[in-house]
């Protein structure tokens, strides 16, 4: 009962949001070679500490938090700082422990190594 009352009251004293953050999809390139899948994402304005790369079963998700940059009053603007978020279904088995991510000049690079069993192997033909 008491819970219900507090819910009803909430609408009147709802806390005003200081900022509404938008989330946008970063532009991504995906490459593959025999050893790994390589993913590159444009995340300008993001610091290393704001990046999160998660791999859960077959889904890779990247989120990057962009700190609001306000060096003064905005007099002409084309964008509001937005966080980046995107997830991918990785269609093949990936060595989850070997996933590495690096951030270089606003570009996030994620290396998804293939397990040894999934790599193509060269079989040497021996004379019988």
């Amino acid at each position: 009962m008491s819970k219900d009352k507090s819910l009803a009251r909430r609408s009147e004293q709802e806390i005003e949001k200081a900022e509404t953050r938008r989330t946008m999809l970063p532009a991504v390139d995906v490459y593959e070679n025999d050893e790994e899948i390589l993913l590159l994402a444009d995340v300008p304005g993001v610091d290393k500490s704001g990046v999160e790369v998660r791999f859960d079963r077959d889904t890779l998700s990247i989120t990057a938090k962009r700190e609001a940059s306000q060096p003064g009053n905005l007099i002409a603007g084309e964008y509001a700082p937005a966080d980046y978020a995107r997830s991918f279904v990785v269609p093949q088995s990936i060595d989850a422990d070997g996933i590495k991510a690096e951030l270089d000049r606003g570009v996030l690079k994620v290396h998804l190594p293939k397990p040894a069993a999934a790599r193509p192997r060269q079989i040497t033909v021996t004379a019988g």
């Binding site: 946008m24 999809l25 970063p26 532009a27 991504v28 390139d29 995906v30 490459y31 593959e32 070679n33 899948i37 390589l38 590159l40 444009d42 995340v43 300008p44 304005g45 993001v46 610091d47 940059s69 306000q70 060096p71 003064g72 009053n73 905005l74 007099i75 002409a76 603007g77 084309e78 964008y79 951030l103 270089d104 000049r105 606003g106 570009v107």
Partner: protein
């Protein structure tokens, strides 16, 4: 009767042209980063913000993947121009599955809203964001006027 049918078709054409135009405008209005990320022509290339903090003007632009040497900044007669080039090449030996990050060159010019001191301008690139800081000219600086009791 034949001519009437012709009229109807031209009416259709006009309607479709109008729909195409509407869709183009909606594409421009919504910032969907699916084709080339933040770098759609609708928002300018690259997306730029200009700030005024009293004594300085600060321009910020998203330039992911670029470093200082890839960007040229010039200041001429109160117009700030930013030029740059971004090349995205598939790493050698890799097959490409998805390609959204564009290769492009850009030039953006901004007429500055007040006089500035071109000697005190500096530009940095950090985490894929270009920041140009320009000191305002002495007479364009805000002044504090003391109120005296009469």
């Amino acid at each position: 009767m034949m001519t009437r049918w012709g009229d109807i078709w031209s009416e259709f054409d006009r309607t479709f042209a109008w729909m195409d135009e509407l869709r183009r405008q909606m594409d421009a209005a919504f910032d969907l980063p699916l084709s080339g990320g933040a770098f759609r022509l609708s928002s300018g290339v690259p997306r730029t913000n200009l700030f005024d903090n009293g004594s300085q003007l600060v321009l910020q632009a998203d330039v992911p993947g670029l470093s200082e040497k890839d960007v040229q900044v010039t200041l001429d007669q109160g117009v700030l121009t930013v030029r740059g080039e971004r090349r995205v090449e598939a790493p050698s030996g890799y097959a490409t599955h998805r390609r959204e990050r564009g290769t492009y060159t850009f030039t953006r010019s901004v007429a500055l809203p007040c006089e500035v001191d071109p000697e005190k301008a500096k530009a940095t690139v950090r985490d894929g964001v270009l920041t140009v800081t320009i000191e305002k000219a002495a007479h364009a600086q805000p002044k504090q006027i003391t109120v005296h009791a009469s």
